[in-house]
């Protein structure tokens, strides 16, 4: 049995899109391959590493675990929608200043997780930061520079 592709209307980075895809297609693949938004990465394909994080209706999710049939009408923000033109978001700038990015593969997801955390909790303690970022694995930094970046970003 072969299933037909379906049409999904949703908003990505403030732009309306009509997407044709198999209903069980991962949001990750639809955004990366269909819309060429390649900032999010596939690190594990099982919701463990957070490299594919996006904001779905304002909430942090792993796009590898979201079937596209479930995003009809949704508002999606990817890393490409974070900076305002040339103006970096405070979290992005802070990652640059504090060395929060090394190889960069976890960085887009990590930045989105940090932004999501600061939206829920504008003045997080270090413990809050650790919890808020625990779903985003980084193998390069040991996280210390990322904590520093997030703490500084929320002071702005």
């Amino acid at each position: 049995m072969t299933i037909e592709k379906i049409t999904i209307d949703c908003t990505v980075n403030h732009t309306a899109h009509s997407i044709r895809a198999y209903p069980m297609a991962r949001l990750l693949d639809v955004l990366r391959e269909g819309l060429r938004l390649t900032g999010m990465k596939e690190g594990c394909g099982e919701g463990e590493c957070g490299a594919c994080s996006v904001l779905l209706n304002g909430e942090l999710v792993n796009s590898c675990l979201v079937p596209v049939a479930q995003v009809s009408g949704a508002n999606i923000t990817t890393i490409e929608g974070i900076a305002a033109g040339d103006q970096l978001h405070a979290v992005q700038q802070s990652f640059l200043t504090h060395g929060g990015a090394q190889c960069g593969i976890c960085t887009p997801g990590m930045v989105l997780a940090a932004i999501s955390l600061l939206e829920r909790n504008p003045n997080p303690t270090e413990a809050d930061v650790r919890t808020g970022l625990a779903g985003n694995l980084c193998r390069c930094t040991g996280y210390m520079k990322i904590f520093a970046a997030v703490v500084e970003a929320c002071q702005k």
Binding site: G45, C103, L137, R139
Partner: protein
């Protein structure tokens, strides 16, 4: 306009490619798209050892649409060229480890490709396989060569056998370390275009473009100018993208050649973990003679590593582990006997530290046992045996630099509040039945650059080119994999030429455009390649000065003008620099004696732990990492290297366990192979001392691997101080600790 005098080396300048990384604009291999690109997949051996009887393409699939590659499609030599060239690119007739590649498939529809991968049935007649170092050594089967041994080393200083009789104490111990997955967050991947007219071009996630280049030359039997290797942005390597990318590049290129289409071959996490290299498991036996004053009289060390099914890099991993096995101590009689043996595991390979974390773990655990036997505190035992200027290492290398390990140890113990905590923890542990606190440390060294004659053989070359605008492009095959290559090499060039950092850029590593500056491994990029960048930069300046276009004291404008004039007259302004060994550095490959490394980084790491006796879990509460690394080029990046290395090493010590089942990794998922999250790590407090090294750029040495060496023994020493139980294997999982404590 005044001369640009700003110091650039030593500043925490922002990462060169940082902006693209925080905005998601950086393009990694899986982000690249080529017209008419197909997708590739690898069909692998389900068992560890056997004879291939048949390959069947089953199921109701349009097989005619697929490109299918097996060993018989290889036009050159069926090997992944490295050191011994014993590893086939595709298994032919026999398989020697689980997940060994046998068949390659390509198709434009990647979902159908997965159906096809499942439908290829490889029928293999099983043969007996080896999975332990003891079975390999005992030759219960011969699976490689005549004796299952890839490589043996013997390092001898003095004569240990003359000492045993006169020693006050002889202390023995056995230490084991497990396999460790590099777990870069970007899985391996390659894209290839290949045909008879244009040759082979690959883009990929890799550390060593010229390793891949060499492998493709042999696989296709092509001349060097017909093979081109381009590094895409690379999402972490840690050694895991040192040798294995040559295999994947070969596979992608074979498919592309046969399909006549570009082929993208990206591993998913499960495939990457199951099939690619891991850190070599090891076993070290120590026998140490010591007198009642704690002076080490003889160190007899037997070091064995499990190389897996093919030789790959095991000989050099063994070499580094062997040389580091006796640590930063002065002992007149040292013998290190080491072996890399074959098993039917997937080949173990490069991983940050490269043998040293294994042998240093053993030594730094063992010295605590020696100290306890003699009745000395662990720090006192070390103080009585530290290397000093003028003394020699196990390979007879005379320490020519200022070296104050005593001072380093004192400072590390102060920074960690070691002595006060030791007392406090003793009181705490006396009254708390379930939470036991401890503190421990390790003292160690790590050599920068290739071992022994390695750098001489490499003959690395670095180029640097100025444009008519006066901007400068560095031409190296050294890759940015997160560690900061682009940034520090730019800083070094900017410093040497007194230009703005923004005026320097790096050419994309592309074997068609950059010279072979050697592989991006072995803590060599800053010290060795950085020095060559510095020399090449100075060569550029010298050309302009000698042409009369520039004086020694120049402004940015004068520089720009000089470049413009020179290029208008000569067409291009380039300078190349080739490696030359520092004077007085000599290594004997036969006796394994001499100057093993141009320079060493020295370190003392202190770990504080709590062991929970309800759950047998160990938590690292605080971590101090103090090191002497020569001049620090970029403090934020350097600290980032140390913090990241310590985090990986905490994983190595306490969490990261590869579950083997007949040579197959069973926990090949991030969910079940446990690396530390942001909640699992202590504050990692990093401190540097700077003792500039004459032959490093601005005095810098190497630091990339160093932080991998010390944490595991420091943590296990801390655990012993917490619970009084000696455990000598890592990863030390709660399940192991429970067994030991209830034995």
């Amino acid at each position: 306009m005044s001369t640009n005098q700003t110091q650039i080396v030593g500043q925490s300048i922002q990462r060169k490619e940082g902006r693209d990384k925080v905005t998601g604009a950086m393009r990694y291999v899986d982000d690249l798209l080529f017209p008419e690109m197909w997708f590739g997949a690898t069909v692998r051996s389900p068992i560890a050892r056997g004879r291939i009887r048949s390959i069947e393409f089953t199921g109701n699939l349009p097989w005619h649409e697929f490109t299918i590659v097996t060993a018989k499609d290889i036009s050159g030599q069926n090997c992944t060229a490295l050191i011994l060239d014993d590893q086939p690119c595709l298994a032919d007739k026999f398989v020697n480890h689980a997940e060994e590649p046998v068949v390659l498939l390509a198709h434009p529809d990647k979902y159908l490709l997965e159906e096809a991968r499942r439908a290829v049935k490889i029928d293999i007649e099983p043969l007996p396989a080896l999975f332990t170092m003891d079975d390999a050594l005992n030759q219960t089967e011969i699976i490689w060569g005549d004796d299952n041994v890839f490589k043996t080393f013997l390092v001898e200083k003095g004569n240990v056998d003359d000492v045993w009789a006169s020693a006050d104490f002889i202390v023995e111990g056995e230490y084991e370390t497990g396999a460790q997955e590099q777990l870069y967050i970007e899985p391996n991947g390659m894209i290839a275009m290949a045909n008879a007219d244009d040759g082979v071009t690959v883009w990929g996630s890799l550390q060593c473009p010229y390793y891949v280049h060499k492998a493709l030359l042999k696989l296709f039997g092509l001349p060097p100018d017909k093979v081109r290797v381009i590094q895409a942005a690379t999402g972490g390597g840690f050694g895991g993208k040192e040798e294995y990318p040559s295999m994947i590049a070969g596979h992608a290129a074979l498919l592309a050649w046969k399909a006549g289409k570009p082929v993208k071959l990206i591993y998913d996490r499960a495939e990457d973990m199951a099939a690619t290299t891991k850190r070599h498991p090891s076993r070290t036996r120590h026998r140490t003679a010591v007198n009642k004053d704690g002076k080490l009289l003889a160190m007899d060390i037997e070091f064995v590593i499990d190389g897996g099914a093919y030789a790959t890099l095991s000989s050099v991993v063994l070499s580094r582990g062997t040389i580091h096995a006796a640590g930063p101590y002065a002992c007149d009689n040292v013998r290190v006997r080491s072996k890399a043996v074959a098993t039917n595991h997937p080949p173990h390979g490069a991983f940050r530290g490269f043998g040293a974390p294994q042998s240093i773990f053993a030594l730094e655990r063992h010295l605590n046992k020696v100290a306890a036997t003699v009745g000395l505190r662990p720090e006192e035992l070390r103080r009585r045996n530290f290397l000093h200027e003028g003394q020699t290492t196990a390979t007879g290398q005379v320490i020519r630099e200022k070296l104050d390990l005593d001072g380093l140890l004192t400072r590390a113990l102060e920074l960690s509040d070691y002595h006060a905590k030791k007392e406090r923890f003793a009181e705490h542990n006396a009254t708390n039945a379930t939470q036991k606190k401890g503190i421990g440390f390790a003292t160690f060294l790590h050599g920068a650059g290739f071992t022994g004659s390695g750098e001489r053989f490499l003959e690395s070359v670095v180029g640097i080119e100025a444009t008519a605008t006066g901007n400068v492009c560095i031409l190296v095959a050294s890759t940015e994999i997160g560690q900061g290559t682009n940034t520090i090499l730019s800083q070094i060039a900017a410093e040497a030429l007194r230009l703005d950092y923004e005026m320097i850029e790096l050419a994309q590593p592309d074997t068609a455009n950059v010279p072979n500056s050697g592989p991006t491994v072995a803590s060599r990029t800053c010290m060795i390649v950085g020095k060559l960048v510095e020399s090449a930069a100075l060569g550029l300046k010298q050309t302009l000065v000698q042409s009369g276009l520039l004086t020694d004291d120049y402004s940015l404008d004068e520089w720009r003008q000089a470049c413009a004039i020179y290029i208008a007259e000569h067409g291009a302004l380039k300078s190349f620099s080739k490696y030359e060994a520092p004077p007085n550095i000599f290594w004997n490959d036969e006796t394994y004696q001499g100057d093993a490394y141009g320079a060493y980084a020295w370190a003392v790491y202190v770990a504080e732990v709590t062991v929970n006796l309800v759950t047998y879990e160990t938590r690292v509460d605080d971590f101090v990492a103090l090191q002497e690394v020569g001049k620090v080029i970029n403090p934020v990046l350097a600290a980032g290297q140390i913090e990241g290395g310590v985090a990986q090493a905490i994983g190595y010590a306490l969490y990261e366990n590869v579950v083997w089942d007949n040579g197959t990794m069973r926990n090949n998922q991030m969910t079940n192979y446990i690396m530390p999250t942001s909640e699992d790590l202590p504050p990692i407090r990093v401190f540097f001392e700077e003792n500039p090294y004459t032959y490093g750029p601005s005095g810098a040495k190497g630091i990339g691997e160093l932080p991998m060496d010390g944490p595991a023994p420091a943590i296990l020493n801390a655990i012993e101080s917490a619970i009084g139980v000696r455990v000598n294997c890592i990863p030390l999982l709660p399940e192991t600790l429970m067994k030991v404590m209830n034995a």
